[in-house]
Amino acid sequence: MFDDLLGGLLTVLRPEYLTYSFLGVLLGQIVGVMPGIGALTAIALLLPATFYLDPTASLIMLAGIYYGSNYGGAIASILLRLPGTPASVVTCIEGYPLAQAGRAGLALFTTAVASFVGSILGTILLILAAIPMAAFALRFGAPEYAALVLLGLLAASLISSGSQLRGVAMVLLGLILGLVGSDVNTGFYRFVVVPTLADGISLIAVAMGLFGVAEIIRNIGQPRPAGLLQPVTLRSMLPRREELREIVPPILRGSGVGSAFGALPGTGAAIASFMAYAVEKRVARRPGTFGKGALPGLAAPEAANNAASQTGFIPTLSLGIPGDALMALMLGALIINGIVPGPNLVSDQPGLFWGVIASFLVGNLILLIINLPLIQLWVRLISIPYWIIYPAVLLFVCVGVYSFRNSVTDVYTTILFGFIGYAMILMRFEAAPLLLGFILGPMLEENFRRAMLIHRGDLTIFVTRPISAVLVACCVALIAYALWSSLKKR
């Protein structure tokens, strides 16, 4: 395994791959810093471009955007209380008070170090867990895959920061949208209102509409909080010794929490950061300081969302089941390049697998290097007015959506989903569960139908096969927990 990793490192250190890794993390850092454009939009935009790259380079670059955005997301959260990414919402709670107290430098240092340590620990876990997981997954049959996808969807809808009922509704809507097109088993056309839809609704159009376009509409004309854009000097970043001692245990706890939630299919970086904050608040010696700039409450969530971003690759790479919407887009990049994700990926494509994992180590190092010393540049980036950014992003959306399948219909589909996405924002429905349902839907249906066909329509096989029984038990436990917690609230 060590040799494989070394081989992966040698791959990544080749100039071309190093360039793609650098481009990826740089773009991630930029979209993370700028509120109003997320990593999801950036990845969806670049997905058509991966046609022209080899799969390893594609995945290295897209993954770089993903974890890079976590570093950048903290900056606008701390300085302006504007979360650049969903995962950095929690960062505002403790980071902004610190900035108001003139300690922005310390807050930025803490998040950068926490992000780096979280990422590296998450990557180590990924290295240790991915191969055994893939070997284990080779024993999976259709019932196990169906149960696992179901567990992921339940986790995505029930473990969320919003309403659980709404989460379930969005997953169902996503599953339905995923059905559009010709049925894999029979070739029967379902809901094909225009001929282009025979291949299904374009993933890019859905992702761009729900996230990119809807976010732009929401952000236009929104007053930005007046600048606390004080100059941040490198000197102000250095922590005192007791402050350093204060942030080390939270970083480790946050990495643990984040790693666990990242590895679970259906939950990603955003939820991990919320959970890590909750844990920190509970174990804190001085809970009264929380909300007023407590360093542990800043360090733990940042470590958690980065760790989760890395361990999120465990189900993605070893099972072929994406943990969240971003992972699903990355799987899309593999599928575009003709690589079938699944437990065989590790043995079929060792170069890709180890190259991508090694790129995490390199990419995070690059991020740590470009993050703090260039802080002035990132701060200036935040102050670019939105009217300069959004028309250009919109143009990229148009060209990206169109060129994915050379289809004008997909551009109109994007309009529809932009409208739906904005309506969902107004009505407080979350878009992430919808997208996950849309992507996992075909996988769920195919495996469920296959399981029923093989086992003669007998539903009990889901509880008589041991692995599937454990997964079903997890589903039941999750539902029971959700019911219990919502009854307790009333």
């Binding site: 309403s163 929401r218 060209v399």
Partner: protein, 160 residues
């Protein structure tokens, strides 16, 4: 925040939940209705209509539950304010996409880019026409450079 604005906020949020739930009920029933025309099959050999029928009905039930929950009293903290509906931004941004789709094939990438960016910029009320024309010109030049010259996408710069 005055008490009055609090009440208004609450009413509007409830209203939105009700509308959202109703939309889901209609969507779910519509999907189930269409799917009932497809071959449903048996448990062992499921037809293409099986999944949409089940999912459509489940969505309708969920939507109904959301409507019920919207009427029940809730705690204030569950109603984050999403701000006013930005009609102008919505129309301009979605219109910009429509303009791109309509112009791309007849007119070509450069005019389509110009129009898209210009329409999108109308969303910001305070921008002056000169700024819009200048920025849209720059953006269409940039589109030509990046998408056609650098990436070599199979698109024509000018359609006529």
């Amino acid at each position: 925040m005055t008490a009055r604005s609090g009440i208004w906020r609450r009413l509007r949020a409830m209203d939105a939940s009700g509308v959202g739930g109703a939309a889901l009920v209609v969507t779910g029933l519509g999907v189930a209705h269409v799917a009932s025309g497809y071959p449903v099959g048996t448990m062992m050999r499921m037809g293409p209509g099986f999944a949409p029928l089940v999912l459509g009905l489940a969505l309708a039930v969920c939507g109904a539950a959301i409507m019920v929950a919207a009427v029940l009293p809730r705690r204030e903290e569950e109603l984050p304010d999403r701000g006013p509906i930005r009609w102008r931004a919505m129309l301009c941004v979605l219109g910009a996409l429509a303009v791109f789709g309509l112009l791309l094939n007849p007119a070509g990438l450069v005019p389509a880019s110009f129009a898209t960016v210009a329409v999108a910029m109308l969303a910001e009320a305070r921008l002056r026409p000169v700024a819009i024309v200048v920025y849209a010109t720059l953006a269409s030049g940039f589109a030509w450079l990046v998408f056609l010259r650098l990436l070599g996408l199979p698109l024509s710069a000018f359609g006529w």
